[in-house]
Symmetry: C2
DNA sequence: ATATATATGTAATATTATAACATCACTTAC
DNA sequence: GTAAGTGATGTTATAATATTACATATATAT
């Protein structure tokens, strides 16, 4: 089971982690022979910060604060598509929003845990889920290609009961 | 494991099934003390026919063919919301579309199998998936409330290999 | 230095969804 | 049977999300 739950739910050195992630993103792009341009990198950073999903127009607003020139929707959407194709970003369909992938380059199918209170999104990948879904779809003759699993609930920090872990 | 896969993937008496379903919908509404108005019923029928998800504006177009007066988006969306609240209809987030629920009134969390070729959507409910997701989320301290599972692939009729079952 | 491919700019518009307020239609109580 | 109250729909406008088409700019390789 692969997850970024600790990272999301516990305090950590944001800057160091982010820099490491960006550095890895550059490596991935280099390996794929594609360019991580300033706009793309800026968007990726935003989608990695705070572990909160952001919509395209929200990204646009944030970018406006940094960049001198306003960036139009097509550029945003193109950058998002680029990052998704590389596995650096995921789309959260139920929110029409996007979030940075904590473990890019690793082949995995994701389960997103979306906190209904603080909006953080943590990701977990578990082979057992895939195996089970394979078994279920096999049984009815459905050939599984890809999947979207989005879970709603309360993260440890927002769950009133106990805040252990 | 509860599924409508056979119903979706194999030929069947559309009219009879649909009438039975509508009849059950009326019962459900009566039990809940709410009204299944003509517009709501028309939309429900459309979302049960063909086992294909339809968008709100697609529904609007289809309704225009039947009804004399055109029905505006708010009415469509209100009817959809009504039907979803009753469990008669589900939203497919990844398609921004809606589909009739084959087993309303039964408490279940759904897995949707979306055919990438013919667009049919079959539904399956399996307790093992829920149990597994509960276990996984428990482990990281996430309190699971609800879920969205959307699978993409090829239905038995579109899968080139074998068309058994 | 030029040709090519890649990325972004720009304007317009498509698609999906909702807000605000008016009207209509059913239900219930008197 | 009518008025009051609730629930449903009509109407207009608009918000929010996403894409198309075409022009321009920037980087890369020859």
């Amino acid at each position: 089971m692969l997850t970024n739950a600790r990272l999301v739910y516990q305090p950590h050195d944001q800057v160091r982690i982010l820099n490491a992630a960006i550095s890895r993103a550059h490596d991935i792009c280099e390996a794929a022979n594609v360019r991580l341009t300033p706009t793309r990198e800026a968007i990726l950073k935003l989608l990695w910060q705070g572990h909160q999903p952001m919509g395209a127009y929200q990204l646009q607003q944030q970018l406006a604060k940094v960049s001198e020139k306003p960036i139009a929707p097509p550029t945003i959407y193109r950058a998002i598509e680029f990052l998704i194709d590389l596995g650096l970003v995921h789309r959260i369909h139920s929110l029409n929003a996007y979030i940075g992938c904590p473990f890019p380059s690793s082949e995995h199918s994701n389960i997103f845990m979306i906190c209904e209170k603080c909006n953080t999104v943590a990701e977990v990948s578990d082979k057992r889920v895939n195996n089970l879904l394979e078994a279920i779809t096999d049984k009815v003759g459905f050939k599984l290609h890809s999947q979207t699993i989005e879970l709603f609930g309360l993260c440890p920090n927002c769950e009133p009961g106990d805040s252990d872990e």
